[in-house]
């Protein structure tokens, strides 16, 4: 297995005017192709900052980050948008579905920005929804779906571009235990199918599902067991 993503000495400093906050203080991380990694840490640990940089939503202040063989540390906003579109599928805690659009059109959205023609878009979005078990819900709006179903729609949206990395930020944070189980089951299936998944969470039970757990504390990483010592 080759490294799909590799971070070397990544630092992120926020300048809030009066004081400088070091959210990441030299992070080294490599994730192999096909791995299922959980990044665990309490709030304030730099977990969100790490997720933003992993997701190319932000760039590091220092250090390098290579994703899928491409150095993204110094890209412009437009270039980063393209990387996010082609290589990353996001699953958010808040689902982030557009309420006015049907499930199908929500799933289509990344393909719209990829410039995929309409007919192909439709077909691929339907396939992605079938993949997450929502073939019969394509024309429902988010408001007409349960929390678990909404999160499955957003997983379908993450899958539809066939990205190198699926990045899930607290994907079960807003779900009851049954839905949590469903969604985690879905991640297992995707992992078994060879997808690379990075899951960010503060819940040990969720982190345990992953094959590998990385802990983040005060902006530094340590490999370790899922259960806090």
């Amino acid at each position: 297995m080759s490294a799909l993503l590799r971070m070397v000495g990544v630092r992120k400093t926020y300048d809030t005017g009066a004081i400088q906050v070091e959210a990441l203080r030299g992070v080294d991380l490599a994730v192999q192709q096909g791995d299922f990694v959980a990044i665990m840490g309490p709030s304030g640990s730099g977990k969100s900052t790490l997720m933003h940089i992993l997701g190319c939503l932000d760039v590091p202040s220092a250090g390098t980050y290579e994703l899928d063989g491409v150095d993204v540390s110094h890209m412009t906003e437009a270039e980063l948008a393209d990387v996010r579109n082609r290589r990353i599928g996001f699953v958010f805690q808040q689902f982030n579905l557009l309420p006015s659009m049907t499930a199908l059109r929500n799933v289509e959205l990344p393909l719209v920005y990829a410039g995929v023609p309409r007919a192909e878009r439709r077909e691929r979005a339907q396939e992605a929804l079938r993949r997450v078990g929502l073939a019969d819900r394509v024309d429902h709006r988010p408001g007409e779906l349960s929390g678990g179903q909404q999160q499955r729609v957003s997983v379908a949206r993450a899958l539809v571009t066939d990205p190198a990395l699926i990045l899930a930020d607290e994907p079960t944070g807003n779900l009851d235990s049954a839905s949590t189980h469903d969604v985690l089951e879905l991640f297992h299936e995707l992992h078994d199918a060879g997808r690379t998944i990075v899951l960010i969470t503060h819940e040990a039970e969720v982190a345990q599902e992953a094959r590998r757990v990385v802990r983040i504390t005060d902006g530094l990483l340590s490999e370790g067991a899922a259960v806090p010592s």
Binding site: L57, A81, R84, L109, Y113, G115
Partner: protein, 407 residues
């Protein structure tokens, strides 16, 4: 992302906020309608004035006694510097080849009586060339003849208003009226040209100039003319005719161009003066109306800013899914542009409707021209996009993480 996809997204966003979109458009709508109506009114007034002046005769020149540049001379009503000699001179093709017809006019106020009816009118003593030069027709009877003119016959042609006031039931032609104590035979009645603000060409009595000179004016003014109406060969010959007349009369009066004792008015000059006046008035009114357009534009900007703030999460999500800043900017610009253009289109519709309602109401053709419509649409689109520029830039520059973080 294709343009059609951008439009689809923009339309959906606007339809999702239907009431607000409509209210936003209202500002542009009212502004465009107001500008179109004021410009239409101005254009209509201009066309009406042009038509009326053309009706008076666009190839007409009026030679008047007194100098335009000499206020004291001009204001005096007793200027008697134009004579029949001048009229005869201008009528000579060797002197003024571009002149087609000459009608000298000698005038005075008179009282006209028929039976017990009494009507005060303007007596116009002139020659047989008058109907041709003034472009007047008769609805009844005939004009006086060369013979009658030569013999200073007591015949009269009535204006339609004059005839109507004296003869309510009976036809005027063949009747006799009394003017200044003398009896005249009515030989004809003129066709109406409509009264206008400048002169009343329908209330007058037209007589041979010889008759007026001998019978109606005091001997002291029997040779002085009120005006000489001159018809140029055609519209294009006006300025050459103007020069020929000026030269002839100046020489005849033994004057120089610096101290002319007469002046020549053409309707073309009047036309351009009126044109300038209506244009200034229209511009002024349209300018006032345009202020409401500016306010409408500010409305669009305001609502787009609100929209950006409300949709921070959506913008963040779209960016996370691969929308570049340029695409986000484009989407908001298209939304603002649609608001502007649609508001403008509705404004044009209201303008056309308003013109249709106002035209019979004001008895004035309110003109909504195609170029004005296209300009209005372009302007409203421009206002929308202009007003959308700043909100769109704000949306485009939102950092995706800030946008996603907002609750």
């Amino acid at each position: 992302m294709s343009w059609s996809e951008t439009f689809r997204t923009a339309v959906e966003a606007l339809l999702g906020r239907r009431m607000r979109s409509l209210l936003t458009m209202l500002g542009i709508l009212i502004g465009i309608a107001a500008v179109m109506l004021t410009v239409g009114l101005g254009e209509g007034a201009r066309q009406q004035i042009t038509a009326e002046i053309n009706k008076l005769g666009s190839n007409l020149l009026i030679v008047m006694p007194g100098s335009l540049s000499n206020a004291s001379l001009r204001s005096s009503s007793s200027v008697m510097t134009l004579t029949l000699d001048d009229a005869d001179l201008i009528a000579d093709p060797a002197v003024a080849p571009d002149v087609a017809g000459v009608a000298p006019v000698m005038g005075t106020r008179v009282s006209v009586q028929y039976g017990t009816d009494d009507w005060s009118s303007q007596a116009t003593g002139t020659t047989t060339a008058w109907p041709e030069v003034r472009a007047r027709n008769l609805i009844d009877g005939r004009f006086f003849t060369e013979v009658e003119q030569a013999s200073a016959a007591q015949v009269v042609v009535l204006g339609p208003t004059t005839a109507g006031n004296l003869f309510s039931d009976t036809p005027a032609v063949g009747q006799e009226v009394v003017i200044s104590g003398q009896t005249f035979l009515v030989v004809g009645v003129l066709e109406s040209v409509g009264a206008n603000s400048m002169t009343n060409d329908d209330d007058l009595v037209v007589l041979p100039i010889t008759t007026v000179a001998q019978r109606l004016v005091p001997p002291s003014s029997a040779r002085s003319l009120q005006a000489i109406y001159v018809a140029a060969r055609d519209d294009a010959a006006i300025s050459s005719a103007h020069q020929q007349i000026t030269r002839a009369i100046t020489v005849n009066h033994a004057r120089t161009t610096a101290d002319q004792d007469f002046s020549i008015m053409t309707f073309q000059a009047l036309l351009s003066a009126m044109d300038t006046m209506t244009a200034v008035l229209t511009t002024l009114l349209a300018g006032l109306a345009a202020i409401s357009l500016v306010v409408g534009g500010i409305g669009v900007m305001n609502i787009m800013l609100v929209s950006v703030t409300e949709r921070v999460r959506e913008i963040g999500l779209r960016k996370a899914l691969g929308a570049t800043p340029a695409l986000i900017r484009r989407q908001f610009l298209v939304e603002a542009g649609i608001l502007g253009l649609l508001g403008g289109a509705l404004g044009v519709a209201l303008g056309v409707l308003g013109a249709a309602i106002l035209t019979p109401l004001l008895d004035l053709q309110v003109t909504v021209s195609l170029p004005a419509t296209l300009l209005a649409l372009t302007v409203s689109l421009g206002i929308g996009i202009g007003a959308g520029t700043y909100p769109a830039a704000r949306a485009a520059n939102l950092p995706p993480i800030d946008a996603l973080r907002s609750e």
